[in-house]
């Protein structure tokens, strides 16, 4: 098998989202030098994203440029991805670890008759088949799976692979023309959208650093300590459920079993005890730091580094120190 690898693009405000760049990095990391890497992007306008693929060293981009894709359900889009994968002679499709990507994988698996997996941290070739590793049970275990059959769709976990260095090439873009998906798949309509409340920084699931605050902050008016620490790091702000339930911060910031699962390079838990429902949402972060006044708080069992102390003293000092080293 020496087919192409198709990387599925996703647009936000006309640009590729960071997880797509990571998927290009993954494609490079796992395939031999002779393997063609092909981009796919759908949207009302795909020119800017096509150029971005070129900047990342992807010379061949399949596009579905159509105003319909501004408000298209993923279920209709799957037909275009499957067609692009077929046209490109791909045997592997890499899908970014976003909500859009997560929704696409199962559908594409059936549509393209491929083995399908999500949440993957590692892809490898072993004994003539793709083999993947993925965390399960909220990061309390991992499994490896072997993908049997000629084709595979692999959904990546955010931050599992690093973006590739820039390696600009000329891009050729080709329009994808699939057999039109059934009309009923186009019927659902997106009637409104509003930005989800997030801090001013990057979104929680994209961010490579997350700072989360818990009940230890005592009152909503103290939460600015977390916001400022996050701002000093260029990090996203998260929260425990104690905080979101109390209405100090919107539920879109909740990390955990019933909130978002995040896996940044660095996770800082401030005044969070470390209940299992919180842990499962952040335990697969690369490095975990806890700041808590209670040395017996369970968060210290999963943290790599801890500061036992009063957050009202530690956090402002930490923010100041980070600002200092960053400006030095």
């Amino acid at each position: 098998m020496s087919g192409a690898v198709l990387v599925v693009g996703e647009l936000r405000e006309g640009r590729l989202v960071p997880s797509v760049t990571e998927a290009v990095g993954a494609a490079r990391a796992i395939s031999g030098p002779g393997t063609p890497i092909v981009g796919f992007v759908a949207g009302p306008s795909t020119d800017a994203a096509t150029k971005e693929f070129g900047r990342l060293g992807v010379p061949d981009v399949r596009t579905a440029s159509d105003p319909r894709f501004d408000r298209a359900p993923v279920s209709a889009l799957a037909a275009f991805v499957a067609q692009a994968a077929g046209d490109a002679g791909a045997d592997l499709v890499l899908v970014p670890g976003t909500t859009f990507g997560r929704d696409l994988v199962g559908r594409l698996g059936i549509r393209w008759n491929a083995a399908a997996v999500t949440g993957v941290t590692e892809v490898q070739r072993a004994d003539g088949a793709w083999q993947v590793r993925r965390p399960i049970f909220g990061g309390r275990a991992t499994e490896t799976r072997r993908l049997d059959g000629a084709r595979a769709v692999v959904g990546l976990r955010p931050h599992a692979y690093a973006p590739p260095p820039d390696a600009p090439v000329d891009v050729r873009s080709t329009a994808v023309a699939p057999r039109e998906p059934p009309a009923n798949l186009w019927v659902p309509k997106r009637v409104a959208e509003e930005p989800v409340a997030s801090g001013s920084g990057p979104s929680l699931t994209d961010a490579s650093i997350v700072v989360s605050g818990g009940r230890g902050l005592r009152a909503p008016e103290n939460f600015h300590l977390v916001d400022e620490l996050a701002a000093s790091l260029g990090a996203a702000v998260g929260a425990s459920r104690a905080v979101t339930d109390a209405g100090w911060r919107p539920s879109s910031l909740q990390v955990g079993q019933t909130g978002k699962a995040v896996s940044p390079q660095l996770y800082l838990a401030v005044g969070i005890s470390g209940a299992i429902q919180h842990i499962v949402g952040m335990v697969s972060s690369r490095v975990i730091v806890a700041i808590n006044s209670d040395a017996t708080a369970p968060i210290f069992k999963v943290a790599d580094y801890g500061v036992v102390g009063d957050l009202f003293q530690i956090v402002p000092a930490l923010t100041a120190e980070i600002r200092r080293v960053r400006s030095a």
Binding site: S75, I136, E143, R146, V196, L266, D304, A317
Partner: protein
């Protein structure tokens, strides 16, 4: 309205995880399988819709071995589902979620369904594959990450929200529809004792698993591993908050190498 809710028996959250002797999957020995997480929300959502749309019925469907699939279905009946269908998977399955979707689709084709509710992802394999695969197999749209699903009777459409990384989207769509639910508009209810007792005698429709498609590509588990136990946090020693900050930043830069 005919509502189908797909539920998966998964190990209770407190289960001590351990690999089976063959090293491929979780050892099911002594594990208690229950209805949890997003599936509980999916059942709640189904019941809320049933209560708000007169004449609705909710059927719970589960694919799995005995006794865990029936027990999980009984838990759903105790919560208020009207009927239950058990797709008997035979012995301990460690299937591909896409294969599970194939079995569910095979069964659903002969059951009325205006709405098929799944959890956003299962509490054990966390795949989030079933809803999308099921949508494609049934030829209907599917949406994941859904919160707050309602029925607009005047216009005969479902309305719902979805949370993406940066947006809360509002959608509307007629049935039939497959939904991967993130959250219902209420917290999941708990079953009352009389209902639990009654559910023990509830009839469960048992159907055979459809013959697997020999040509389908699929994934299979080859190893189940526990991460090495965490050593516990390395605690920063300090006399003043400033010293704590300085030392923490130093280890993060030099030892953990997480920021420049």
């Amino acid at each position: 309205m005919e509502i189908v809710v797909c539920i998966k028996p998964v190990p209770e959250p407190e289960t001590r995880l351990r690999a089976a002797p063959d090293g491929r999957i979780l050892d099911p020995e002594g594990v208690k399988y229950v209805l949890t997480g997003y599936d509980e929300s999916a059942v709640e959502q189904a019941l809320l819709l049933k209560e708000s749309v007169p004449g609705s019925k909710v059927r719970a469907v589960s694919f799995g071995p005995s006794p865990r699939a029936e027990e999980t279905l009984r838990a759903a009946v105790a919560l208020g589902c009207d009927s239950a269908t058990w797709i008997d998977s035979g012995a301990e399955p460690s299937p591909d979620p896409v294969d599970v979707a194939r079995a569910l689709a095979g069964t659903l084709r002969s059951l009325p369904h205006d709405l098929v509710l799944c959890g956003k992802q299962a509490g054990d394999d966390e795949a989030g594959l079933v809803a999308g695969a099921l949508g494609e197999l049934l030829g209907v749209p599917d949406f994941g990450y859904v919160v707050d699903l309602r029925w607009d009777a005047a216009r005969s459409v479902f309305t719902f929200h979805r949370m993406t990384e940066t947006l809360q989207e509002s959608w509307e769509a007629p049935g039939p529809l497959v939904i991967g639910l993130q959250q219902a508009w209420n917290d999941p209810r708990t079953a009352k004792l009389p209902a639990i007792l009654k559910s023990r005698k509830a009839p469960i429709d048992k159907v055979p698993v459809p013959a697997p498609d020999a040509h389908a590509s699929r994934s299979r588990a080859t190893t189940f591993a526990l991460p090495p136990p965490r050593a516990g946090a390395k605690l920063i020693e300090y006399k003043t908050p400033e010293e704590a900050a300085e030392r923490l930043v130093k280890v993060l830069r030099e030892e953990a190498k997480v920021f420049p």
